[in-house]
Symmetry: D2
Subunit: 336 residues, 4 copies
C-alpha cells in the first residue's frame, strides 16, 4: 500500500483525493495540507477517510509513513516544494506546469539527478481514452509517417481577468496542455513555433495583456507540421479534438457527450453538447494518471511523464509568447 | 436512339420526362398523353422539346416510331394499358403497382408470355445509391448469411383522406416499396406476414378504414426474419433507412440530407433533416431506373425488375391486409 | 451507513461488491455468502475489505447489523430467498428475474404486502446514461405522443447450450431486459405480444428447444407499437440501441465505444466496435442502480423498480413463448 | 437562349459542355475551340449536339451569334483571351486562376472597366451544397461573429512533377481554392499570411522547388484568424472540410461519400471513403456555377464571383509563397 500526502486542497487536490480513495487500488491518502485549510475541507477530508489534515505541508514531507506526495498547490510553489520533496525522499506527482520559468524547472531536474525519487507531471489528457487511442494508432504506424497534427482545444468559458493576470498567459495556462499533446502524438519535440492570436472573447482579457483566441503552428523534429487552435469560450462547451494525418491515412478523435441521444424533429437532428468541462471530460483520466503513478512506484519503473516532459511544453509556451510579441516564427532553441 | 411515349402527365410522368431529356442518354420523349391534358402541361412539354402531346394514349401505342412507353397513369389503368402496349409491341416501363388485384397482374404476365416486349416495374428505390450499396454488400457476402432485415419507411406528411380511400390502403400504397426492398435485400421471397397497425396520425385516415402506423414482420424463404416500420407522418421529414444483420456483421444505410452541415451551439449539435420527400431523395434513382430500362432495350437483356417483381409485393401487401383483418400471421401462399 | 450482505458470489455478486466499495457512498458490504464459496473468492472479498464470508446465506439474514441484501444467487432461489429476507426485515435488491414462474413472484408480492421492506429488481439498463436520456426525452414530451418503440439487443456471443437449457429460454433470459426497457420507454404496460423467432446462430441452441434470433412485436396500453429484435451473436459486439418515434419527432440512442477514434484509410472510414458486453457497457449502470437502492433506504422512498416491475417482464416473456409455440398473437392477460 | 462558346476542350472544358447540355436551362453550346483539337474530341462534341468545333478560338470570338465564352484553356492564356473576349463583347466565364501574375489580372480589370461584359471566375466550391450551407449559416449570423476559420483541403494523389513545374506552385494551383473559400466564409479579405510547408509526399515535387504539405495561417479584415491545411496526397481520398467558429457556436461541413453505408463487423464500424476527387465531389457545383453565370446574363445582374474575386486569391497565394521563402508573416498589401 502506497501512502500518499496531498499538498494543496483546492479543486484538483480534492479530485485526486477522491480518485485515490475510490479508483486507485494500492494507494491511500494519509494526509492533506493546505495553508488556507478550512473547517469544511477538514470535515470533507475526514468523511473521505483521510486521517490527517494540516496547514503545513512540511508535516507531510516529514512524515516517514508517507511514500509519495501530490503537489496541487499554486503554480508558483510547485518547483520549490518539488525540490523539498526530493530532499525528503518522497515520490512526486506535480500538477502542471512545474513553473513558468524554465530555470526553476531545471533546478528541479538537477535536484532529481542521482535521486531515486519518481517524478510525474500532471498532463492528464494523455490518459484520456480518446487521446490514448489516437496516440496508440499513430505509434503503431497505422497511419504511416506523420505529416500533420491538428489539435482543437476550446474552453466553455473564459477565466476571470484576475486569474488571467497571474496565469502566465493563455499559452502557459491553457495551450500548455496542447503543447504536451502535440509532443505525445508526434512522438518528438517541436523545433519552432509561430503564434497568431487575438482578443475576440473578452476585452478585459486583452487589458491584462493576454489573448483569448489563437492559432499556433509548430514544426516538429520528425518533419511534420502541427497546428493548435484555441478559444477561451466555445458556446457549445468544452471542445477537445485532435487529428493526425499521415502517409497512410488519418486518425481523429472527437468530443465525448453525456449520452448518444439524438433527437430528430422539425428543428433538425440534434445530439448532445460535449461534456461540460475538464472535470467531467477528464475524470477517468485523472484517476488513470494516478494509477500509473502508483504503479511506477510499486514496480520501480519510470513514470509515464517525467520531469523533462514538464520542461518542454513550458519552452513551447514561452516560444509562442515570444513569437506573438515579435511577430515572427521562434525556434524552441531560442528559449534558454 | 430509343423513342419513348409517356402515358400520364401527372407528377411522376413529368419527372420521368425531365429525366429522359437531361439524364438518360440514348432516349428521347416523342409524345406524352394524358386524358386531362392541360394547356400548361402542353406548353411545359413543348418547352422540354417533346414534339407531340395528346389526350389519347392510343396515339402513342399506334405510333410506329415509338419504341417504348412509360405507364404513369392512374393505378387502375396500369394493367389494361400494359396489355394493350404488349399487343402494340411497345417495351413497357410501368409505375408501381401494376394493379391491386393479382388476377389482373397475372393477365399482364400471360400477355407478356411469348412476346419480346421488355417489362420493368417502377420500384425506384432499388436504384438509390444507399440501397444499392446495401444490397451489394449483402449479396457480396460481406455480412455472411442474412438473419434480420429492418426497414424504416416514414413519410413526412400523410396523404389526404380522399387519396387514402382510393389508394388500396397503406400496405399497397406505401409499404409496397418496403415489401419490394425486403425482397431486394434478402434476395428471396417472403413466406409469411404478420401486421400490427394503428391509427395514430390522423383519425380521418382511420375513418376510411385504413391505418397510418404499422410494424410488419415477415418470414423469408432464406430463413431470415424481416421487419418494416411505417408511419404516414414523421415530423423531421422523409425517413428511409435499412439495416441487414447477418452472421458476420451488419450493414446499414441512413438518410440523405441537403448538406453535411452541423451547427454546434448552446442548444446542442444539430445536423440537417433528411431530404424532404421522394422527389428530393430519389431524383437520381428515378433517372437511373430509366437508364437501366433503356439499356435493357438497347442490349436486349432482361430488365432489372420484371413483371414477377411487380406481382410479389402486391401479394405481400394483400397478405398484410389479411393479417391485420384476421389478427394472425398469414402465409403468402394464401394469397391466390 | 447502510450495511449490506451479498447473497451469491458469482460474477454479478462480485460486480456489485466492487461497486458498493468504490462507487456507492453511504453503503458497505459487511458479508458475502455463497454455497460454493471458494478460497479465492474469500481472499478476494477480504482484499476488498469485506469482513465476513460464509457458505450459508442465512447467516446474513440473521445478522442484526445488516440492513439490506443483494440477491445474486441462481434464479431458482430468488423468490424463496426474497421471502425469507422480507421475513428477516432486510431491504432487498434482487437480480432479474425474480422467477420464471409468475406464481412464485406473486408469493413475493404477497410477502411484501404490509412490510416496510424496500424491494428493487435489477434491471440495470434503466440506469444507463443513454437509456436514461432517452426515457427522459420521451417522458418530457419532446417527441410528442409515442407511436413506435424500437429496441435492438444483440449479444456478442451465445451462451453455452448447457446454460441455455436452464435459462428459461431466450425470452426470459435475454429479451426480459428489453421487455423492461419497452415498459420504461413507453411508460405503460404491454397488452399483446407476437413473437417471430428462428435458430440461425447455433443449431445446438435449437436442440435445447430454444431460439437465438427473434423479432417481437408488442401492443402497448398507450396505443403505441413496440418491436424488439434480438440475436444471440453479433460479430461486431454487444449491440444495444433504442429508438422512440412520436408525433413530434424521434429520439434514439446508439452504442458506446471504447473511444471516439475514427481511422480514415484506403480501406474506408472506421470507428471502434461497441463496448464488448454488459460488464463493459453497463458498469456505471450497475453502480447507479445500487446508489438508487441505497438512497431509497436512506430517504425511505420507493425504489425506482419495485416488485411489480419484476413481474410484468416475466409475463411478457411467457406470452412471447406462448406466441411462438402457438404461432399467434397472445394477450398479456392470458398469462395468469 | 444564351449561346455559348467553349475555349479549351480539355477535361474541364468537356465537363462544362456536358453540364450546359444537360443541366443548364436557357443555354446551349454552339462551338468549342482547342488548338490541339483531336478527331475524338470533335466526334465527342458532335454527339453532344455541339454544332461547331475549331482549332481557332477567334472563330468563337468573331461569331456574332455567340453571347458568352467559357475560357478553359491553359492558365497562361486566360488573361489575354479574357481581354480579347471583352473587346469582342462576349460575356466571360474564366477558369481559375485568371493569371499567376497580378499585373495581368489588373489588365483584365482595366479592360472590363466601362464595358457591359459579365465576368465570372471559376471558383466552383462556392456552389457546393456543403460550402453554400456553411456560408449561409455564417452570414445569417447563426454562430455570431467569426473568430476562427479552419479549412482542410487534401488531394487523393499528387500531380506529376512535370505538371507541378508549370503549376505556379501548390499555393497558386491548389490552395488558391482554399484562399477563395476563406474569403467566402469570412465575408472579407485577408490582411496577412504565414505559411509553413514541407515536402513529405514526394521528393520529386521538392526537386521542382515546390512543397506538398502546408499549414497556412491568415489574419482577416474582420479580426478573425483562418488556418488552411493542405496535402497533395490523402490515402483515403479527397478531403474537403471546413469549420467556422464564432461567438455563438460552430458550423462545420464534412466530406460527401458515395453512400451512407456503414458496415459493422469484427474489424470495426466502417463507412465509405469520401467521393474520389473534384469531378465526383463537385459535379453539381460545376453545373450550378454555370447556371448562375447564365442567370447573371439573362437578368443583367452581377455574377456571383467577379474579376476582383479572381485577383485576391492570387495575391494571397503570392503572399504565401513569399512568406515561405522569407520565413516570416507577409502582409497582403506587400503584393503589388
Amino acid at each position: 500500500m502506497i501512502n500518499i500526502g496531498i499538498i494543496g486542497a483546492g479543486r484538483i487536490g480534492k479530485v485526486h483525493a477522491q480518485s485515490i480513495t475510490s479508483l486507485v487500488p494500492g494507494a491511500e491518502v494519509k494526509a492533506m495540507a493546505d495553508p488556507f485549510l478550512t473547517r469544511e475541507t477538514a470535515t470533507w477530508a475526514q468523511n473521505l477517510g483521510i486521517p490527517h489534515t494540516t496547514e503545513d505541508y512540511r508535516e507531510i514531507l516529514e512524515d516517514p509513513d508517507i511514500d509519495a506526495v501530490l503537489i496541487c498547490s499554486s503554480t508558483d510553489t510547485h518547483s520549490a516544494i518539488s525540490i523539498e520533496a526530493v530532499q525528503a525522499g518522497k515520490h512526486i506527482f506535480c500538477e502542471k506546469p512545474i513553473d513558468h520559468d524554465t530555470a526553476k524547472i531545471r533546478e528541479v531536474i538537477r535536484a532529481l539527478e542521482g535521486s531515486h525519487v519518481k517524478y510525474q507531471v500532471g498532463f492528464n489528457r494523455r490518459f484520456d481514452h480518446n487521446f490514448e487511442a489516437l496516440q496508440r494508432t499513430v505509434s503503431d504506424g497505422r497511419i504511416g509517417s506523420v505529416h500533420l497534427i491538428k489539435i482543437t482545444s476550446r474552453d466553455p468559458q473564459p477565466p476571470s481577468p484576475e486569474y488571467v493576470k497571474v496565469s502566465g498567459g493563455m499559452f502557459l495556462d491553457m495551450t500548455i496542455h496542447d503543447f504536451d499533446m502535440v509532443r505525445f502524438l508526434a512522438g518528438c519535440n517541436a523545433t519552432e513555433v509561430y503564434a497568431e492570436a487575438a482578443v475576440l472573447v473578452d476585452p478585459a482579457i486583452g487589458e491584462t495583456g493576454d489573448v483569448d483566441t489563437a492559432v499556433i503552428t509548430l514544426k516538429m523534429e520528425n518533419g511534420s507540421i502541427a497546428v493548435i487552435d484555441n478559444s477561451r469560450q466555445a458556446a457549445y462547451g468544452y471542445d477537445q479534438r485532435a487529428e493526425v494525418f499521415g502517409s497512410n491515412g488519418m486518425a481523429a478523435v472527437s468530443n465525448d457527450a453525456p449520452s448518444s441521444l439524438v433527437v430528430s424533429s422539425a428543428d433538425g437532428v440534434t445530439g448532445e453538447k460535449p461534456l461540460h468541462f475538464f472535470l467531467e471530460r477528464y475524470m477517468d483520466a485523472y484517476a488513470k494518471e494516478l494509477r500509473c503513478f502508483v504503479q511506477s512506484i510499486e514496480n520501480d519503473t519510470d513514470t509515464p511523464l517525467g520531469v523533462m516532459d514538464g520542461l518542454e511544453p513550458v519552452r513551447m509556451g514561452l516560444a509562442a509568447k515570444k513569437s506573438l510579441l515579435e511577430h515572427r516564427p521562434v525556434k524552441i532553441s531560442e528559449i534558454e
